[in-house]
């Protein structure tokens, strides 16, 4: 597929009915589709389990990625090991594909900084960004470092469509344009920023057209079609690797769940809208397609579900058994070397903890 900077065109291969809308290129083969499908089902299984954990008081506030699995999966499969990923907080799928195990993701959401101590592929990735859009400027910095060193890598950053209202987003995109940075920006347009619908977030017809402000390429993809997401990201990543500059991808999807476990979306959005969105969600459409292509059957489905449950469950059990980190960790990673005046405070914290445990 050819990508242009016409921002209004929404790329899609497989539509909401699981039917082919435009023919899949060779590289989007059965292997790819099956891997995508398995990943999405795995992530959905995980996601539901974490929500359940939260409901039973075993988890901190959690941001579900329900409905956005195709975006994270497409990115995770398209991004290279050498690239740097700067996530927002619904990138469970990408993190999973970049070797951040579920157990560690649970540790993060469960309120332990060690959940950000990634190893392997994600060793240079950023942790989830809570202050909306700030990761986009960090990505521009990572991409600058890559460009300064002349490496064949890129920075891929994600955010929500709400994040595109923040200065960080534009400042970074503008830099990406003028410095021709090896950077890919993927906006998860899930139509809502907590209770604020897309329509009152911006007057722009699309998020993709914001790329025009920076003179970079921008376009929409159907964020519920994992093949379209993958293809778009692959295009943008290749372009970045070739030194051809930055890309803004608007992945159009829908937040099927509450904003977080602390939210109740029924307060502000209509059932009908959510029901309609369920008809376009990414997992079912790919299953339909795979079924129709005879690449998948009920037995495989059941086996997959079982495998997912098992993998998730063993991560959950490991998470639940994690001891609290030592109190000294509160101090020992603040600076490379602890300044003298903090030694006393560290000691005080240890005593306080000892006392608390004594009680």
């Amino acid at each position: 597929m050819q990508y242009t900077s016409k921002p209004y065109q929404q790329h899609r291969f497989i539509n909401a009915d699981g039917a082919v809308e435009s023919p899949l290129p060779d590289y989007l083969d059965a292997d790819f589709l099956l891997k995508s499908y398995r990943t999405m089902v795995m992530i959905r299984t995980f996601d539901q389990r974490v929500v359940a954990l939260q409901r039973t008081g075993q988890m901190g506030t959690y941001a579900s990625c329900l409905g956005q699995e195709a975006i994270g999966t497409g990115i995770g499969l398209a991004l290279g090991k050498q690239d740097v990923f700067l996530p927002y907080y619904r990138d469970q799928a990408t993190q999973y594909l970049r070797d951040v195990p579920f157990q560690q993701q649970l540790q993060y959401w469960g309120g332990d900084e060690w959940g950000n101590h990634f190893t392997g592929t994600a060793a240079q990735d950023f942790p989830n960004s809570v202050p909306i859009a700030t990761q986009v400027t960090h990505a521009a910095g990572v991409a600058s470092a890559i460009k300064i060193r002349g490496e064949k890598r890129c920075a891929l950053v994600t955010c929500g469509e709400g994040a595109t209202s923040r200065g960080d987003f534009y400042e970074a995109m503008n830099l990406a344009g003028v410095w021709q940075l090896p950077m890919v920006m993927v906006v998860n347009n899930n139509q809502w920023a907590i209770s604020v619908p897309r329509s009152i977030q911006t007057g722009a017809e699309t998020i993709a057209q914001k790329a025009v402000a920076a003179g970079i390429e921008g376009f929409q993809v159907d964020g519920n079609d994992v093949s379209a997401v993958f293809d778009a990201v692959r295009h943008a990543v290749n372009k970045a690797h070739q030194g051809k500059g930055a890309t803004l991808i608007e992945a159009v999807s829908y937040r099927l769940g509450d904003h977080t476990t602390a939210d109740d979306a029924t307060r502000y959005r209509a059932h009908d809208e959510v029901n309609a969105a369920w008809l376009r969600e990414p997992v079912k459409r790919l299953r339909t397609y795979l079924h129709e292509q005879a690449l998948w059957d009920e037995q495989q489905e059941q086996a997959l579900l079982d495998a997912c449950k098992q993998e998730v469950e063993s991560a959950v059990q490991a998470y639940l058994q994690l001891p609290d980190q030592p109190v000294s960790d509160l101090f020992d990673y603040l600076y490379e070397e602890l300044p003298v005046h903090l030694m006393q405070q560290r000691q005080a914290a240890l005593s306080k903890a000892a006392k608390a445990e004594g009680e």
Binding site: G60, G111, S165, A193, V196, I200, Q325, L342, Q345
Partner: protein
């Protein structure tokens, strides 16, 4: 129209302001909601804006019912942009509106700082009174609620250092109601920080009478003879608990809620310490260059001869608030205050 018990404003019900003579038994978050309703009803220049404040009524429900009652022109969901929220509030205020803007959590307030420091705090001064900036920037703040990262900050000291601002922190439903009304009526910019840990901790009887509380005074919550305990925000509760514990030991502690940390009513604090000769200042925030330091320094300057022991500070560590599993270690509790108080008294 006396309001029956069942009409007492409560969390998720739309607040209907009634006869100011009828008591409402409410939490702090309800009191804030009541004050917003009252302020909007009595002054059509009052507008409310922020992320999720209109349709959703605020993530903590502080603004519930406002949009339905006062319309979308006066209760505005903004795009997700804190710099913008601060900036447009200044523009609105310069046009004689009285914007009450919400920053969803204090951890996201930093993007407003340029506007607050360089403009809100200076518009009147810069124009020699021609333009002014009667805005309120509300933000839930503080830790102890097991929230995600950046949702537990106490960085009130940053604003307290800026001339031209008022920085106000309620610590009870009554003071939340009265101080917020006064903040909205105030002709100058007010940073209004709401200790969210106690949003729903206690209920108090409040009359929705539209009467504000003064912003230029500290509030003495308990008289005492032996030691002065000074605090603000959520820590006022641990401080009161500590005073109870001290009482059991026969020590009578005076407890003062600073409430407005800038400009500071130092006189009330000085008078108390002159009386007691002992003082512990309790702040949730990190220690270094916090507000407790200013209070300690000022008190020391003015009560040197009366001081019987060093003024002590009970504060957070100079680390970020830990992620939730270790949050408890960061927070101070009543016995930490008692320990500090006893140490001070033993220095006698």
């Amino acid at each position: 129209m006396g309001m029956p018990e069942s009409n007492i404003a409560s969390l998720d019900k739309k607040h209907s302001p009634g006869d100011p003579a009828t008591p409402h038994i409410v939490t702090m978050i309800d009191a804030i909601n009541m004050a917003l309703h009252r302020a909007m009803a009595s002054d059509s220049n009052v507008v409310v804006l922020g992320e999720d404040v209109a349709t959703n009524g605020g993530v903590f429900r502080a603004t519930v019912g406002l949009k339905e009652r006062f319309g979308h022109k006066r209760v505005m969901d903004t795009p997700l942009a804190e710099t913008l929220i601060a900036g447009i509030s200044i523009g609105m205020a310069a046009q004689q509106l009285r914007p009450v803007a919400e920053i969803q959590f204090m951890g996201f307030i930093y993007a407003t700082m340029e506007h607050i420091v360089s403009h809100a705090a200076r518009l009147r001064n810069r124009t020699r009174g021609r333009l002014s900036c009667p805005m309120v920037l509300r933000a839930p703040y503080g830790g102890g609620i097991h929230a995600p990262e950046h949702h537990s900050e106490s960085t009130e000291a940053l604003f307290a250092h800026i001339p031209g601002l008022r920085v106000v922190i309620p610590s009870s439903p009554t003071r939340a109601y009265g101080l917020l009304l006064s903040a909205i009526e105030d002709p100058d910019p007010v940073i209004f920080l709401e200790p969210k840990r106690i949003y729903r901790m206690v209920k108090q009887e409040i009359y929705d009478d539209g009467v504000g509380l003064p912003l230029d005074t500290c509030y003495t919550l308990r008289q005492g003879e032996h030691i002065t305990l000074i605090s603000w925000g959520a820590m006022v509760h641990e401080t009161l608990q500590a005073a109870d514990q001290l009482q059991e030991k026969g020590i009578s502690a005076e407890v003062i809620d600073v409430a407005t940390i800038s400009p500071l009513d130092i006189d009330t604090l000085v008078a108390s310490v002159q009386k007691t000769g002992h003082c512990v200042i309790i702040q949730e925030a990190a220690r270094h260059c916090g507000v407790a330091a200013e209070i300690s320094a000022s008190l020391q300057e003015q009560t040197f001869t009366e001081l019987k022991a060093p003024i002590a500070r009970v504060t957070g560590f100079d680390t970020p608030m830990p992620y939730l599993r270790r949050e408890n270690i960061y927070m101070n509790h009543a016995d930490d205050i008692v320990t500090a108080a006893m140490k001070t008294l033993e220095a006698l």
